[in-house]
């Protein structure tokens, strides 16, 4: 493969990616991680060869010279043409099912797919499903991020100054471990306010009154964090809105 040809191929692939070829994108990402090689056939008519990510199906764009950028229409046409060609070669098959099978270690039919390439998807999940390809590391990251949010809430909950308080009062003084905040009972009619209130309304009320600080907007990072901490303390308690 000449370096020149390679560059042309990449340029065309970029054009397709920009189109948002949803089916192809996750595969392309995975391919990047695994560093597979897909030898692209040489162009016969001086155009640019584009290969489908099965590593086998390819077409040549005759009017796209090396160094030229494909237009959106061209990219769309190429994607359609590639998929049509693949379908012609694989009558009765479904692209996603076939790709999942090809990438599984059992199949191992493709010499370009290493054994480690098994997706995190459970059997029955299809390639492209949002939750199909997450790893245990992803879950750890999510948990860590969530805990950081909750911990920030805990910090503010216990810090009169962070709450904007002016008389030294913080939430934990009346609500150790977030007790007696019963977030699961909101929304409910708050008799003293004479209207239906959400948890955040009560947090704000507490900040304004016993804490003696300025109220926070519903989007305030501190209010959101407080809400996160309070809710986190009630994990497992059934929701029971309107309860008194």
């Amino acid at each position: 493969m000449s370096p020149k040809l390679n560059r042309n191929t990449l340029a065309a692939a970029a054009g397709i990616a920009i189109l948002g070829a949803i089916v192809i994108l996750p595969v392309a990402l995975r391919a990047q991680q695994q560093q597979p090689t897909h030898p692209v056939p040489a162009a016969k008519d001086g155009g640019t060869v584009v290969m489908l990510c099965d590593g086998k199906t390819s077409i040549e764009i005759k009017n796209l010279k090396p160094g030229q950028q494909a237009t959106e229409q061209q990219g769309r046409a190429v994607a359609n043409e590639l998929m049509a060609k693949w379908q012609q070669q694989h009558p009765g098959e479904h692209w996603e099912t076939a790709q999942a099978a090809a990438l599984s270690p059992e199949a191992n039919a493709s010499p370009t797919a290493p054994a480690k390439s098994k997706p995190a998807a459970a059997s029955g999940q299809q390639q492209g499903d949002t939750y199909a390809s997450f790893t245990s590391r992803d879950y750890k990251v999510w948990q860590t991020e969530t805990q950081k949010f909750v911990d920030e809430g805990k910090r503010v909950f216990h810090d009169s100054k962070a709450l904007g308080g002016t008389i030294g009062v913080s939430c934990d003084m009346c609500h150790p471990d977030g007790s007696n905040t019963h977030p699961e009972t909101y929304p409910k009619y708050q008799v003293q306010l004479q209207r239906v209130a959400l948890l955040r309304d009560m947090i704000d009320w507490c900040i304004e009154n016993p804490v003696k600080g300025p109220t926070l907007s519903p989007n305030d990072a501190k209010l959101r964090a407080l809400e996160a901490y309070i809710l986190a303390q009630r994990k497992g308690v059934p929701l029971d809105y309107g309860k008194h």
Partner: protein, 382 residues
């Protein structure tokens, strides 16, 4: 929300501010006269009932005649009151808790007849500073009856009790009162958690001041003071009624919040030979009572804020108070009074502000809940 929905407390504060503006010209003496006159006018109009915290003389008369169900009229009955857990900040920072403390002082001064003495149950200050403790001393100085002081952890851990002892004397002591042996304990010692963490005195105090942190040690009476207690009781006959004042509960309720005394069993063992032992404790800011063998325990109310009931460990004999209305600063706070009966047992009256008082009789605890059960709350803990 703030602009359209003013809370009860906000409205109260605004009205108060307005009244104070009008009164600014008056000196203190005239101001007090105005307040008294206003209160008198309100009473005369029947807008509020005469304070429910007055002594109930009929009940006392029955005890005086020795007709109490537990018999044995050994010594004259007497009454003492308490104020506890005021958690005062410096006056320039926070007036909310000063209002609570002053309200309690008014209450005990209004008692007629006056109690023999007023126990202060500990946690006079919030962060243990000299200014806070001196403010507390000044406020308690308005109490007409003699004061018996007890220390709490909020008074202690900034300077390890230096200022408190300078103002109020030794933290543990005992005295005889009308045939009852009264012991005041310093029961909030903690094992050193601060040196290894290189904490400043302020950090140490701040840690102890928080309930829901696992950093601080648990409360204890400690080896030295338990020895002192043994020696103190050595000369006291086992038939003598014993009254123990302790800031921490002297039993194990909920460890995570330090509603807890680590050497509780050992202290209870020292008190075991006595037939009639009553422990009055602070710290838990709620209606709380318990009976362990020969010992009846009563928790005191705070004037600053109520604590929620802990998720575990609540004594089975405790009847919860209704949960607090956060929109009412004084709700579920209060003070109280103890009637020490002729037989040396103690009936306790919880003077819950803005609510009906609740009496918990010694007979309720001694019968393990079979008689005189206080009314159940309408709204218990969530």
């Amino acid at each position: 929300m703030a602009a359209r929905h003013k809370s009860v407390e906000t409205k109260f504060m605004e009205e108060r501010e307005e009244v104070l503006r009008g009164l600014r010209g008056l000196d203190r003496r005239s101001f007090l006269k105005v307040v008294a006159a206003t209160a008198g006018a309100v009473m005369a109009k029947g807008l509020i009932a005469p304070h429910s915290f007055q002594l109930v003389t009929i009940a006392n008369a029955a005890v005086e005649k020795g007709t109490s169900t537990n018999g044995m009229a050994g010594q004259p009955p007497f009454t003492f009151a308490y104020i506890s857990d005021t958690h005062l900040y410096e006056r320039t920072l926070n007036q909310r808790f000063i209002r609570g403390a002053l309200k309690a002082v008014e209450d005990v001064n209004a008692l007629d007849p006056q109690p023999d003495f007023v126990l202060f149950g500990g946690d006079l200050a919030q962060l243990g500073t000299a200014e806070e403790l001196e403010l507390g001393q000044q406020i308690l100085g308005e109490v007409k009856a003699p004061i018996k002081m007890m220390v709490g952890e909020h008074d202690w851990f900034l300077d390890m009790g230096d200022k408190w002892q300078e103002l109020f004397g030794p933290p543990n002591y005992s005295f005889e009162w009308k045939g009852v042996h009264v012991v005041v304990l310093m029961s909030v010692h903690e094992k050193d958690f601060w040196t290894a963490r290189k904490m400043t005195p302020q950090q140490r105090m701040g840690t102890v001041a928080g309930l829901d942190n696992g950093i601080q040690s648990r409360f204890e009476v400690g080896d030295e003071e338990r020895e002192w207690l043994k020696n103190d009781l050595a000369k006291v006959p086992t038939t003598t009624p014993i009254l123990v004042f302790s800031h921490s509960p002297l039993y194990k309720y909920y460890r995570n919040w330090n509603f807890w005394t680590d050497d509780a069993e050992q202290v209870q063992a020292i008190l075991r030979p006595y037939d009639k032992v009553t422990v009055i404790h602070g710290h838990t800011h709620q209606m709380l009572f318990n009976q362990i063998a020969n010992i009846s325990f009563y928790g005191m109310l705070s004037t600053a804020w109520p604590w929620p009931y802990a998720p575990q460990g609540l004594p089975a004999l405790t009847v919860q108070m209704n949960r607090a209305d956060p929109f009412d600063q004084f709700d579920a706070c209060g003070n109280g009074r103890m009637n020490v009966r002729a037989d040396g047992l103690v009936d306790k009256i919880y003077n819950l502000w803005d609510r009906n008082p609740v009496t918990v009789k010694a007979d309720y605890l001694r019968s393990r809940g079979k008689t005189y059960r206080p009314p159940a709350p309408q709204f218990a803990t969530y």
